[in-house]
């Protein structure tokens, strides 16, 4: 274990932590709305569940980058590579886009999902519109994920 590996681990941890926090908050915010809707209209469970699950992806993306960093640095296979400090720092930086954007977009997507769930409660036929609106927020998490992946694969 040298400084480079530790820095890379910080990057992996950050992307999993912040992505997870964003998704946890988002799914919770949507879940509160979904539970409220289900108390009055239990038959909408299927529709609101889809909406509630949408903000869950940021956590998955963060986890994905964390695993990719661990795979690339050889930590997961038990033989960590001999990284320089600069390389370790690069891995840390690779984790940052999905860490920050995942956290922010998870929270905001949760709010949009909650609003869409309430819209679905009033008009069950409009759930597809709600799904589209909610998915728009995720675009930025996906772009951040791509940025993270491209940085990650660019590290020499």
């Amino acid at each position: 274990m040298n400084t480079g590996i530790v820095l890379a681990l910080v990057g992996a941890a950050l992307s999993a932590i912040l992505g997870g926090i964003g998704s946890a908050y988002g799914v919770q915010a949507a879940g509160v709305a979904a539970a409220g809707v289900c108390s009055e209209k239990p038959d909408l469970f299927g529709k609101v569940l889809v909406l509630q699950a949408l903000p869950g992806t940021q956590g998955i993306y963060g986890f994905l980058i964390a695993v990719l960093i661990l795979v690339q640095t050889g930590v997961i296979s038990g033989s960590p590579a001999d990284l320089t400090v600069m390389q370790g720092l690069s891995y840390l930086i690779a984790g940052l886009p999905i860490a920050f954007v995942g956290c922010g977009s998870g929270i905001y997507q949760g709010k949009t999902a909650a609003a869409s769930i309430l819209m679905t409660a009033k008009d069950p036929d409009s759930s597809a519109k709600g799904i589209t609106m909610t998915a728009l927020v995720e675009t930025y998490a996906i772009l951040a994920l791509l940025a993270s992946i491209l940085i990650l694969f660019g590290i020499r």
Binding site: T57, L64, V67, A128, T132, A135, T139, L146, I149
Partner: protein, 623 residues
């Protein structure tokens, strides 16, 4: 393809109204044009609420329906009129329901009374005997047990107390106070309440508390026994829950018929409605089957009338209509985007999933779901979409060499090994997707004779967007420069052509060229295909890794199997959700944004739409 509609006018005798409407409902091809405003009460009818409530009540007693059962089948005949048998079962159910709810109310009253009686059970005299006399005032109430000495002290020699059983408010007390002048009495009372005594009322009954309590208890037991009997009846009735469900359907169908309105004379009724132009004969057959006295004509819709939209596509493509319909129905007179959108949805879904193992799972799961549950309507179409998409998932899985997250001999490339290659591949797919949308717009423009508009607004962009990436390839550079300049020049010169002034035309052209940013962001948006494909693959890979790490010894092997199965099921579910959502989004925003207007009215014919049954007229009777 959008199907042409005919406007039908049907004159019948008022006496035949019910029979004709039933025949039309059975045919399910006639959408009545209401004479009144279209916002007549829609949704669940209140008349169907009673059997629905009865059904919900019975389902509490019935066995849980098996996970592998589909809705029972009935003939459309059975749904048309309320049968005596069904009415009887429903009435019986309602009687049992009412009786049980009465018993519940009585039980709760008795239990409440017994709760108030509990502290006074030791009192061995009738409650009505506890009254003030000329010299003694009696107070009833409660106090905490530890406050008793204080209260006794406060009473002093001016009274006495008797304590009974405890309750949640403390010990039940009766205080006997000698009458005192008003002022002193007040002081005494406040001293008592300071000592901890809370005045509270005696139960409002007559007789000894204990006797009353036992009486109530006996009544409770009797009621519970009655309730048990009633519940047994309900359980027996729940075998016939199908009857109640049928009645609910019958009532709903009847309500829908009763909402049909037309112009009336003393003897006749004129109905107007939309019919698919290829199915007018079915209406004719339905009406002539029940009456001979009628007049039925069909006409083309007038200029100012907007008929509802019905689309007809080959079976495979028609399943993907549900994706388009969720966005908006195509308007009459435009092109139906469903065939093009369907094929793209199918391909992009496969790219987003991109795993042979998951594709095979989807194939099996949705095939079994279709066979066992027999889903119908929009939901059934969605299941078919997922079922067909399993094929593209397998194809792209082979191309990417992904098998349950493991990479094995990719034919094109493995997304993890060559993310840049995949990224460029998704952009190419994006450009083709957007171009096919622009192609539909160009087709519509050319069909309307606006060939120049098609060149200025559509082909110019196609040339520019094709030319720009060619600049990056050395061998195609010259061609790229020519195409980019040509495309940009056309846009610059023509985008402002509608503006009246020269300045307007110039700024319009510049603003038009600025649209390049929106095209770029649209194309970049297809990078989500890469992200989702990677997410599916990597999470699958992680599950394999975790399973392999714990697979030591027999116990480890069991754990590994558990991780493997749960992990992959979770990944499959999340990937399906993501692919469904993001594939839809690519259709709605990037693809439809280029040409699609939507805004069609749905075709909602007078038909049987049972909630609890599937209609099947092939079989002679329901089994």
């Amino acid at each position: 393809m959008i199907v042409g509609m005919k406007k039908g006018s049907l004159i019948i005798m008022k006496a035949d109204r019910d029979a004709v409407l039933k025949a039309l409902q059975q045919a399910g091809e006639w959408m009545t044009i209401s004479e009144e405003a279209a916002d007549a009460p829609q949704g669940e009818s209140s008349a169907a609420e009673k059997p629905e409530n009865a059904l919900a009540f019975l389902s509490g007693f019935a066995k849980k329906p098996s996970l592998f059962s589909s809705k029972p089948e009935v003939t459309s005949e059975a749904l048309l009129a309320a049968g005596e048998e069904e009415k009887k079962t429903a009435a019986e159910t309602e009687r049992v329901m009412a009786a049980i709810s009465n018993i519940d109310a009585e039980l709760s009253a008795l239990r409440n009374e017994n709760e108030t009686l509990t502290p006074w059970l030791d009192m061995d005299k009738p409650i009505e005997d506890v009254v003030d006399t000329r010299h003694v005032r009696v107070l009833s109430g409660f106090a905490p047990e530890e406050a008793l000495p204080d209260i006794e002290a406060a009473l002093g020699d001016t009274g006495a107390l008797s304590a009974y059983g405890g309750s949640k408010d403390g010990v039940a007390l009766l205080l006997y106070l000698y009458r005192l002048p008003d002022g002193e009495m007040k002081a005494k009372l406040s001293a008592l309440s300071e000592a901890g005594f809370n005045e509270g009322q005696l139960p409002k009954i007559s007789g000894k508390p204990k006797a009353r309590y036992d009486e109530n208890k006996a009544a409770i037991d009797r009621l519970l026994k009655q309730k048990e009997d009633l519940e047994a009846t309900a359980k027996a009735l729940s075998d016939k829950a199908g009857d109640v469900a049928l009645l609910s359907e019958q009532v709903r169908a009847e309500t829908e018929r009763s909402r049909v309105t037309g112009v009336e004379t003393a003897q006749t009724l004129l109905l107007k409605g939309w019919v698919r132009e290829d199915r007018t004969a079915r209406i004719e057959a339905a009406v002539s089957g029940v009456t001979e006295v009628y007049d039925l004509r069909f006409a083309d819709p007038a200029e100012d009338e907007v008929p509802p939209t019905v689309t007809q596509n080959p079976h495979f493509l028609s399943q993907f209509e549900t994706i388009t319909d969720m966005f908006s129905l195509p308007k009459i007179g435009t092109l139906d985007p469903a065939p093009v959108a369907g094929i793209w949805y199918w391909i992009i879904f496969g790219m987003m999933m991109g795993d042979v193992g998951y594709g095979a799972c989807m194939f099996v799961i949705f095939f079994l779901f279709k066979k066992i549950k027999k889903p119908t309507g929009e939901f059934g179409k969605l299941i078919n979409v997922l079922f067909y998409s399993s094929i593209t998932t397998i194809i792209f899985g082979v191309l990417f060499g992904s098998y349950f997250g493991e990479t094995w001999h990719p034919i094109m490339f493995a997304p993890l090994d060559n993310p840049m290659g995949f990224l460029i591949f998704t952009m190419v797919i994006g450009v083709l997707h957007i171009f096919s949308g622009m192609g539909i717009k160009a087709t519509e423009l050319i069909r309307d004779g606006k060939i120049l508009d098609a060149i200025f607004d559509v082909f110019s962009w196609m040339i520019l967007i094709t030319g720009l990436p060619m600049l990056l390839l050395p061998e195609l550079r010259t061609a790229g420069i020519i195409m980019s300049v040509l495309g940009a020049a056309i846009i610059l010169l023509t985008a402002g052509r509608d503006k009246p002034t020269i300045v307007g035309k110039i700024t319009g052209g510049l603003l038009g060229l600025y649209d390049i940013s929106s095209y770029l962001s649209d194309i970049l948006s297809y990078s989500r295909i890469l992200a989702l494909s990677l997410a599916t693959g990597v999470i699958g890979m992680v599950m394999n890794l975790l399973a392999r790490m714990v697979a030591v010894g027999p116990i480890g092997f069991v754990f590994a199997l558990l991780i493997y199965i749960v992990g992959h099921v979770f990944n499959l579910a999340m990937s399906l959700l993501s692919a469904y959502v993001h594939d839809s989004r690519l259709q709605y925003i990037e693809f439809f944004g280029k040409f699609y207007e939507g805004g069609g009215k749905p075709f909602k014919p007078l038909a049987l739409r049972p909630k609890h049954f599937n209609v099947n007229d092939q079989k002679s009777s329901h089994s």
